[in-house]
Symmetry: C2
């Protein structure tokens, strides 16, 4: 009775659900403390104190029918203005409230922009490895996700292949930096080279190619690495942002899109995105949390905590012989699996009560993602298992 | 550059936007107090005190990474269980947590269920007058909205025409009671007759036809009128609910779907709806407000306030000579426009600083919707304008 596309989704998602069930089964069997779940990007660091204070202040000081009421589908104008001002201060941009559209997280924002842009069969290019939901978001609007294969040397995007894959049907190129699942940050040089390609292809085909940045991990960058602000490199840029990770509010579904005035067809883009937000059923981003984040623009979760995890896990894994890029951002570590078959390796890891996600899920077989947004102690307790794993695999293949 | 369908949306929505702009222009010209905006269903009654108390208690007592964190895409299990228990107590149903899926308001819920059910060209039937967004929600999934024409005698659904319009492609019948825009509540007799037709047609075509109830106005019912609980009448029922009106939280985007175990293909329905919630970019209903509503299941906005408005407006309009059904629910009054052309009449109303929505927007020309979720004083001040309007129209046509 359900639709054909959803029947396929149900069938294929049963694998992931099986993994969840397995985690629950293991927890019941060995105790939650003895199961090391690195499978989910659910922040373990609590929201900064400013969030609770902001909620209290708003409830005590502001009009409740306004705080919880409808507003323009794009969001409260004062909130959008505050975000624009904050971006301008940080990145020397020139945004106004009209360039910001409040969304139900970054996932909501990406759906709004794909609904806005895509005709059936339009192509969106992205770089493997990538967050698997991108495929669904594009297919929701009958678009085609075209995947550029991974550059496993340093996981910067494979620009040579990008050049080959851009076609007259390419409506957008979607990038995600800091990256899920690799933790890699795209450098300023990479971005500059990428947008040179986009400009040349726009010229060649007489089309507009939007660059869409999915940036939920922007604030999770380590060692003072610079995360280039995309609108400064390329006029046809749209940025999707979320407070899920920067303020540890993933359940609250609050984020925004930036649609700069210099983007091609700006007036239509902003009008259509406003309507898309409404007709897709989001209607507006949750109202209280719009007002909360306007009061928390300078707040941030405790990054030291993620950084400690990163150092512990990366250094230990490398010392055991694992190969991986040291992540510069996000809270993921992407290892080359000591077994060529990443699915087999992840199954083997499960036998040590370690839950990690096969790279195949990110269109990058032979790798696996470890989400280190967990308690430090969980990593400490899991390390012997990781060490045993690589040793067993080496013995077996020796 | 935007998609063809969104270009059409932008073009047609400019009429509504023009109305908004006109309202703003009038407010600037005459002062907000002298412009009577009855165009929006934005509750003016404040949320019950329990809402603020619940937020405070949750922030003070519960773990912040849980309160604001990811959970199962269907929502917190304890919240879903509490809602099921509350429904069971009120309606003698037999729901469990597994029958409830938390959604981003009723709009989010309808999109989730249409994504779940519809193949391209599948038909969804609904009764005019209806909330115009239904057309968009169905078209989001390439479905066809088939409209049964209005029964302007009493605005109960036109069941004879329903019989004729149900086809082998009919996947669902969508009803909305208490109704936007008429305020009419579908009686138990109506529902019984409606589901008899659905059962007969299922038999005739060998298909499953879901009855989808959109029920954001369920708690806004006056004079102790009964609003039948649909799952008790028909096994293949799905109910969409929202707290937007019952707790005056429209901006917070919190509601749920009820998918009963006896519905055809239940296991797939619930699995697919869970996935649809995720891949459409909702991910989950806002987490704090999930927890809030679980603590406010017995709370309700002050209905007396809407009832006073209803009595004042209805009695006055009828005394001036307007024709309309006395609404039994919601906060709308649907008048026959004294001019046959409802668009012209609404434009004329604007000249009295009265903003109301043409029935044409609800597929019911010759009528207009007055949203009386405004201050009592606004209605009082607007009444002379309403009286003058009908008199002018009568003189002109005499």
């Amino acid at each position: 009775m359900i639709s054909r596309t959803m029947q396929q989704q149900v069938n294929s998602s049963s694998i992931i659900r099986a993994m969840f069930e397995e985690g629950k089964r293991l927890s019941a069997l060995y105790g939650a403390d003895n199961v090391y779940d690195f499978s989910l990007g659910n922040p373990n660091v609590e929201p900064p104190a400013e969030v609770k204070q902001a909620i209290m202040d708003i409830l005590n000081e502001e009009n409740s029918t306004t705080v919880h009421g409808y507003m323009n589908n794009s969001g409260f104008e004062d909130v959008r203005g505050a975000i624009a001002a904050s971006l301008n201060q940080r990145f020397a941009t020139g945004f106004a409230a009209d360039n910001i559209l409040m969304t139900v997280g970054a996932a909501g924002g990406l759906n709004v922009i794909f609904k806005t842009l895509l005709n059936p069969e339009d192509e969106v290019l992205t770089f493997a490895p990538f967050f698997g939901e991108y495929r669904n978001y594009v297919q929701n609007y009958q678009g085609q996700l075209i995947v550029v294969s991974p550059n496993t040397k340093d996981f910067q995007p494979n620009l040579e292949e990008l050049k080959e894959k851009i076609s007259p049907r390419t409506k957008a190129v979607l990038i995600n930096s800091p990256n899920n699942p690799t933790g890699v940050v795209y450098s300023a040089e990479t971005i500059a080279a990428l947008v040179d390609i986009l400009r040349a292809k726009q010229e060649e085909y007489g089309t507009v190619i939007y660059l869409i940045g999915d940036e939920p991990y922007r604030e999770l960058a380590y060692d003072q690495v610079e995360v280039p602000y995309l609108t400064k490199y390329y006029e046809n840029t749209i940025v999707g942002y979320s407070y899920s990770k920067s303020l540890s509010l993933p359940g609250e579904r609050i984020g925004y899109l930036v649609i700069p005035r210099e983007a091609a067809d700006y007036e239509n883009l902003i009008a259509a995105a406003n309507i898309a937000n409404r007709i897709l059923g989001f209607v507006n981003a949750p109202s209280l949390f719009q007002r909360v984040i306007a009061k928390c623009l300078d707040a941030q979760v405790n990054l030291d905590s993620y950084n400690r995890n990163r150092e512990l896990l990366y250094n230990a894994l490398v010392s055991y012989g694992y190969q991986c890029i040291k992540p510069e951002g996000a809270f993921y570590l992407f290892i080359k699996t000591p077994l060529e078959n990443d699915l087999e390796f992840c199954t083997l890891a499960k036998s040590k009560n370690i839950l990690i996600v096969p790279g195949t899920s990110f269109a990058c077989p032979g790798y696996a993602r470890i989400a280190y947004c967990v308690a430090y102690e969980t990593i400490e307790r899991a390390l012997p298992g990781f060490e045993a794993l690589i040793n067993e695999v080496s013995w077996a293949s020796a």
